[in-house]
Every structure is written in structure tokens, then in C-alpha cells.
Assembly symmetry: C2
Homo-oligomer: 339 residues x 2
């Protein structure tokens, strides 16, 4: 049995979406056991009337909720009875539990992961790696997308190693093509940290480093992972999502501006629905946190049930592929580490 | 008369697009005089058969061209007879010339501007400020978009002051709403430099600082200028352009996949043409370099005649609004400066 914690609160559609997503994942994997944290009565209400294997679901009462506007450090320290912090503590203390999924405050989750959960041996800092769809029907990971706003070249190499193994073992991409986000293609572009990182990545034969990437090529399908400092990685991901959403909104508005367009759009109804589905990040799961000793997956705050189920699937696959152990093995080739 | 230099080489459609753009601008402004630099024979060929006021056009022969893949510093030092470097030298030495437009290598232009052209008194480093269209029909400037991959908080405040004056005096935006690009809205987000910049911007009453902006809101129309370090500003601009282009490409491909969609798209032909035009950066001119003592406008490498004409218009308006003097006045309120 693989035991995974689901933080049922903190998202826009919590707790119903989290509970529904949990049940979907439960029915998909027979060797999965889920522990739901959150206000027991509310969680019970969400479960009532649904059919599921009750022997594989457990509820742990946690009356408090961490809001998105709370200071992460304060939330971690003071809200001990929150659904997120209870899950974090159980993840830390219970060896039979291997992973956790949350749609709550990103800041609090990162702070909790850093202070309460151990890292893979040799890892300097864990990093987020969300996935975006590319225009040729593939996908691209971005690592880091915001856990570390300041980085060193050595950290960037670790992000590359972690995310390469993730794409290979969880998504089955052979020899993932790894690029470094930079302001130009040439090796000497960017600040000193990025120049050093370029050299370090070139000197890491275990990964398939293909050079610098300019951000306009993110969706081209030419890269499997883009390595970035958390600041510009965050800008990269959010700008892509924002531009796609704003463009769709504009198209919709323009279509409604003339009867002729409405008529045309009627013929293309299925196509527009497909485009919307294609750009719907709910279909691509969450940001996994790479480099922690136990698996943590962060779903979008606006996650619906599909997205939560996808996050649980990601956690499941990460555990089943023994990603942390594989990461440790490769990282320790490059990092001196003493217990 | 306002005298402006046009570097006629280095762009994808040079020299024809540059010459055509020059003629368009020439016919638009009666008090404009243009000096075209580049291979004289080629430029003459581009001019032949066109009707224009020859008394306001001058050609300066420059046989060399700086390529986009050349090392900026080497290009500046070694290609003295290039169309770009000849223009830069004339801009520096001739007091009757006030501005320059180029569609050539960005790196070489920045290096030349930094080493050959003076700065507005008090300015630490000049910064690029390109303009993007927002979804409500407005526009937003991004400063810096790549001239400075490393910044200090003080530089970010200077970018804010320069770009605020630019939006106000060249685009007529009263009290431009200035935001700071960051990974979240709260004042304490980002690294130390961005946290310090947040405080500095809050303490600058001459600008209308409205707080941090997350990159997904760039096109929302809620901001007139986004202040950024050159690295993440570059990611912001290129990701927006890249995502829009990739989406349009995908739409086009999907439309051609079914007859029904082709039929629908036929009814929406004008709309799609409008969208394409809307997203065509050629219509929004170039990146002006703010903070240099003489005006420099950098057009996109792929600029066509419309875009070149727009760049010249920007240079014209910057000079006519005495932007550099206004900038100096405000900057010297905050910076100690000795000649």
C-alpha cells in the first residue's frame, strides 16, 4: 500500500474538489491509501453519498485553515492545527506515509517543507517543477518556478538533475532535453550565475543539456525541461498562463461583437472547446516539489477535482518510480555530503 | 529641423525596410531630416524610383555590417566602418544630431550606447522600454527589458522614473500607473533587491507606484509601466510575444484540420486578421533606450517599413517632448551628482 496525505483545505474549491479528486485517484490505483486532513464534519459531508472503498480512506481532524494572505513563516509556526500543518507533521513523523498533496498557500507549503521535511541527501534546496503543454502536443517542465528566488549556479545544476530524472522516470521521456532559461542563446549571455550554470550543465554528462533557451521558445516543443532561477521561472510560467488566458478572453469578446463571428464560431464550437481544454492547466496536474525526502505536490489554488486527482497521480508515480533514491544517487556524484 | 540617424543595416529586412520606413516618417514630419548610414550603393538603390524631399535626406557611406551573432564588445571595437558604429560616432560628435534608430544587433547597440554615448546626468544605467498592447486596447511599457541583467534597487527606481516620464510625455498618459514585476503582490515578496525597490518606489511621490505585479496580469490593462530587472523583464516580454505567436500558429493549424472549421474561419476572416494585426509587434514601434543623453531607439530585428517608421516617430516625439531634460530634473532630486 502507498499512503498519501491530502490536505483538503486552502484551495478555491476546497474541500469538495480535494475530496472528489481523492476519490477519483482512489478508484484509479488499487494499492493507494489516502489520509484526508481537515475539518472532519466538512470532509464527511463531502464524502457522504459517494461510493468508495472506505478501508482505504482515513480522515484526520484539523480544524484550522491557512489562508493565502497569511505570512508563511507565521502560518507554519502558529497554525499547528491547520489541515496543511497536520499533514506536514504526519508526513515527517510517520514512516508508512510517503507523499502529500496540497492546494493551499504555496508560501506556507514551501516554508513547511523547508523547515519540517528533510531533503534528499546532497540537495541544497528543493525546487518546483510544473508542467506546461507544448504546441506540438508534448509537454515541458519548468524547474524552478518559484521556490527559490535567489540561486547559485550549483543549485541550477541540481534543478537540472532533479527535473531530468523526473521527466524520464515519471513521464517516460528518454534523455530529456534540458535547456537553461536565459536572455539569449549564446553561452556568455546573462549574469555570472547563468554563465557559470551554462558551464556546469555542459560538464554534466548524465543530463542532455542542449543550451540556453530564450523564453519565446518555451512552447515550441524543442525542450523537455527548462531550468531557471525561481524568480524568472515564475515569470515564465505565469506570463505563459496569463497571455493564453487573456488571448482566449479577447477572442471570446471579439466573437460576441458581431453576429457573423458568432455564426462562424458556432461552426468551430468543438475547436474552441478543444483549445480551451488544451490550455486548461487543470489537466496538467500540479507543481511537484523536487528534492524533498518525501514527495510533496502542490496543486493550483483554483484546482478542481480533475486537477487534484492528477496531483495524486503525480505523487503516486513519483513514489513508484523511486525518484528520490535515483535523485540522491546522481546528486551525490557531484556533491560532497556528510551526515 | 530635427536630425535623426537611421542605421540602414543589420535587420532581417534591411536595408529596404529601413529606407522605406525612413521615407514614410519623412513625409509625416516636415521638420525632420534623416541621415541614412550604410553601403551607399545599396541605399541609393532602395531610394531609386521613390519620390521624397531629397533636401531632407543624406546618405553616409558605411561599408560594414554588424551581424547578430558577433560579440558586442568586439563588434563595437573592431567594426568602426559599420552602419551602426558610424551612426553612433556621428550621434556622439555632432551636436546638431539628436537621435538614432537601429534594427541591428541589440548587444552591440547597448555596448556602443554605454561606451560611446553619454548618460543623462545622475542616471546609473540606461534601460530599454518596449511597449506591448493590452487586452483593453491600451498599452503597457516594460522597463528594463534586457539592457541590464543585474540591477540594484536604486536602478529599479531610476527605471521607474524614466519610464513614467516617457509614458506621460510621449504617450500622453497622465500619472502612469507604475508596477514592480515580482513573484507575488505582497511587499515582502521576491529577493532583497525587489523588497528594497518596493520601499524606494513607495517613497517616490513623483511617480504613481501601485505595487507589485504578478506577470500573469501584464496584459490586463491595469498598469501603464512594469518596472523589472533586465533578466526577468526580458523573460516577460519574450514569453508574452512567444505565447501569442504560438497560440495563433496553433489556431491556424487547427482551423485547417477540418472543413467545417475552415468554413467557420471564413466567416471570421476579418476578426482573425484583426487579432493578428493586434498582436503584430510591428505596430508598436521599438524599444526606446531611456537614460542616454541622446535618443536611441532599437527596432525589432524583423522590423518592416511600418515598424521602422514607428521607431522614427518615437525618436521624434522623445526629442520634441524634451524627455532627457525632464528626466534629468527628476533624477537629480534623488541622486547626488557631480560633474
Amino acid at each position: 500500500m502507498l499512503r498519501v496525505l491530502i490536505d483538503c483545505f486552502g484551495g478555491d474549491h476546497s474541500p469538495q474538489a480535494n475530496v472528489d479528486g481523492a476519490l477519483t485517484a482512489l478508484s484509479r490505483f488499487e494499492d493507494l491509501q489516502l489520509i484526508l486532513t481537515g475539518d472532519e464534519t466538512s470532509v464527511q459531508e463531502c464524502l457522504s453519498g459517494k461510493s468508495y472503498d472506505a478501508s482505504r480512506i482515513e480522515i484526520v481532524h484539523a480544524p484550522e485553515v491557512i489562508g493565502c494572505d497569511e505570512k508563511p513563516i507565521d502560518a507554519v509556526r502558529l497554525k499547528k492545527e491547520s489541515s496543511m500543518m497536520k499533514a506536514i507533521r504526519m508526513l515527517r513523523d510517520d514512516d508508512s506515509i510517503s507523499a502529500m498533496v496540497s492546494t493551499g498557500s504555496t508560501g506556507a507549503l514551501v516554508a513547511a517543507a523547508l523547515t519540517r521535511i528533510g531533503r534528499v541527501r546532497g540537495i541544497i534546496r528543493p525546487a518546483f517543477c510544473p508542467i506546461l503543454p507544448t504546441m506540438d502536443g508534448g509537454r515541458v517542465g519548468i524547474c524552478d518556478s518559484g521556490a527559490n528566488v535567489e540561486v547559485t549556479a550549483g543549485m541550477l545544476r541540481q534543478f537540472a538533475i532533479m527535473s531530468s530524472l523526473y521527466m524520464e522516470h515519471v513521464y517516460g521521456v528518454p534523455k530529456p532535453r534540458i535547456a537553461l532559461l536565459n536572455v539569449g542563446k549564446e553561452a556568455e549571455k546573462g549574469d555570472e550565475i547563468h554563465q557559470q550554470a551554462y558551464n556546469l550543465l555542459s560538464d554534466t554528462p548524465e543530463i542532455n543539456f542542449v543550451g540556453n533557451m530564450e523564453s519565446r521558445d518555451l512552447l515550441s516543443g524543442r525542450y523537455d525541461v527548462v531550468v531557471a532561477d525561481g524568480f524568472s521561472g515564475n515569470v515564465l510560467v505565469k506570463t505563459t498562463e496569463g497571455t493564453a488566458l487573456e488571448l482566449l478572453k479577447k477572442l471570446k469578446k471579439d466573437i460576441y461583437s458581431r453576429t457573423l463571428y458568432k455564426l462562424g464560431a458556432l461552426l468551430m464550437k468543438k475547436m474552441f472547446a478543444d483549445e480551451k481544454e488544451f490550455m486548461n492547466y487543470q489537466n496538467y496536474g500540479g507543481s511537484v516539489l523536487l528534492g524533498t525526502s518525501k514527495t510533496i505536490v502542490k496543486g493550483h489554488g483554483s484546482s478542481k477535482a480533475t486537477s487534484v486527482a492528477k496531483c495524486i497521480e503525480q505523487a503516486y508515480l513519483m513514489e513508484r518510480s523511486a525518484l528520490a533514491a535515483k535523485t540522491e544517487e546522481l546528486i551525490l556524484k557531484y556533491e560532497h555530503y556528510e551526515d
